[in-house]
């Protein structure tokens, strides 16, 4: 095989014909003076603009910290505070000391551990199903190109225009008695995993990305005797890391956040992920334990965001540009 994996294609970062997502790189290449925004370099040098804008930006940062971070910081504080303190004076800073036991109580006696594990299972499964459907489907539609491909692709894309509301009841009844299967999927994780795979947006992203890969590489691999599976596994997937990252973030976070669908198809409390279980718990457990549980539930997505910030923000920009 003529080492095709070494040839790096010009990675198409924005498959959409849309404004490129914000990258924090504008300042990184400071050598190019043309990169500028609304304010011109000469305006920046005038003291009036400089102080005025500087002040606006400091005020903005302060406002963002209060509005965005404030509630989260309060949650962390209140999760470690006894209920009575939070009820009596919610804004006081640990009037009677820190109550670390809240976290362990929430984790063990309210079984947040179980629901945390369920959330993980739901999210990882939904992620895998979406990756499989998007990559195999995108590969077949983009590289293998069967004659019925365009029709199939059109059918996939047309589901983008059907709002999720329409699917709610018929999808529920389908999961209740799926065709050809004979067994209900209710109270199995498949009921969450499989419908998550029917995501046209993923297929669209994958296909557009694969379309932009140089076709000669696949041709070369084929001439060297690689079958379709080999091309898929050893040539296409290694070149597709950027788009796989985007789809993964989309899939995992969406599954972790989802509420209504898992609520409908997982009525068994022992199978419910955090987001479904928390509202029920809210009415039956003590406030400090609930707040500790809320903090634990927010932890994974927030940590994921802080680690994969760039992918998250690119995904967010892409989502807006493409949904339209």
């Amino acid at each position: 095989m003529s080492t095709p994996t070494r040839t790096r294609p010009p990675a198409p970062r924005t498959p959409a014909a849309a404004p490129p997502p914000a990258s924090g790189r504008r300042r990184g290449r400071a050598a190019e003076p043309v990169v500028r925004g609304i304010v011109s370099p000469s305006e920046w040098r005038t003291p009036r603009v400089r102080t005025g804008l500087g002040l606006t930006q400091v005020v903005l940062l302060a406002a963002l910290v209060v509005v965005s971070l404030g509630p989260m910081a309060w949650l962390v504080k209140a999760a470690l505070t006894p209920t009575q303190d939070t009820l009596r004076d919610p804004m006081a800073f640990f009037p009677n000391g820190v109550d670390w036991a809240n976290l362990s109580t929430a984790w063990t006696s309210v079984h947040i551990d179980l629901h945390f594990a369920n959330s993980m299972i739901v999210a990882v499964g939904a992620w895998l199903v979406q990756l499989v459907v998007a990559t195999t489907g995108g590969y077949a539609l983009s590289v293998l190109r069967p004659r019925y491909g365009p029709v199939l692709y059109w059918l996939v894309l047309s589901t983008l225009f059907v709002p999720a509301v329409v699917l709610l009841v018929p999808l529920y009844l389908t999961v209740l008695s799926p065709p050809l299967l004979g067994a209900s999927l209710i109270n199995t994780f498949w009921a969450v995993w499989l419908p998550a795979g029917a995501n046209a947006f993923n297929v669209l992203l994958a296909k557009r990305f694969f379309d932009n890969l140089p076709g000669e590489i696949f041709e070369a691999a084929r001439i060297d005797g690689a079958g379709p599976l080999r091309v898929f596994w050893s040539v296409l997937l290694p070149m597709s890391r950027p788009i796989l990252g985007v789809i993964s973030v989309f899939a995992f976070v969406a599954a972790w956040k989802d509420f209504l669908w898992p609520l409908l198809v997982l009525p068994d409390p022992d199978l419910q992920p955090l987001s479904v279980r928390l509202p029920t718990l809210a009415s039956s457990i003590e406030l400090d334990i609930l707040l500790a549980a809320l903090m634990i539930s927010a932890l994974i997505p927030v940590v994921l965001f802080l680690v994969f910030q760039r992918t998250f923000l690119r995904t967010a920009g892409l989502g807006g540009a493409l949904k339209g």
């Binding site: 609304i38 930006q57 077949a140 059907v162 329409v166 709610l168 379709p228 987001s275 920009g317």
Partner: protein, 295 residues
Amino acid sequence: MTTWFRRGGFSTFLFLLPLIVVFGVFSWFPIVRAAVMSVQQTNLVTAPRFVGLDNFRTVFEDPLLWTAVQNTAWFALIALVLGYPVPLVLAVIMSEVRRFRGLYTAIAYLPVVVPPVVAVLMWKVFYDARPEGVFNTILGWFGLGPFQWLQSATTAMPALVLEATWAAAGGTVIIYLAALVAVPHELYEAAEVDGAGLWRKVWHVTMPQLRGVLLVTLILQIISTSQVFLEPFLFTGGGPANSTLTVLLLIYEYAFASSLGGDYGAATALSLMLAVFLAALSALYFWLTRSWSTS
């Protein structure tokens, strides 16, 4: 058939199989089924029966429908007034930040990352109506309140919108920031040559350049606010006195709430009507963008 097989037609089909099965069973089939169910009486006991437009009649004769439609429109309107300008202003200022821009975007985007259920349950504590509630304490420092928040029919809906805006604004900021980067700097330079100051540049260059994105986010916002479910469901359950009953909540109640029983037909009929409205919005969007791009 054999040549099809030898040319790899079968392996191609195998690669497409996951897509065909998953979309077939969990997307195409339910979509068709929705259309069929809207003219059927469906329950889980007896076989479905054709009832014509009865489901639609049931929905239209439900006095709660108009309450739900009005409430949803009211939610969408407050969300528009409250939430639409904020991300734009934030993004325009943030696009001029030279140092620590990453910090600004990270903080602005953080609420979007918080799981919606967690955000709602947390805000429910903030909206505690006692004078010792979180928001009432803070407002008390300025001599305001205490407010009833979720427990009064007049303030419940704005309270819902406030939380929804907090949770969603960051995502829109990112979209605007991306669009702002794409504005060609030559336009600003040309405006400067013509003697335009900061404000005029923002008004006469930035805003027209963002026109397309502004319309996209507007329509996206209307599409998502007309499907609002989580906030009314978890904050108020539609109350007090149905003041936060939204269309999606009504669909849920038709289909899954025990008090009314599983009226799947009415639920599908109402969701189809909502879908037609949303499709009309999308069509409007396509028509608008097309007429702009040709002019």
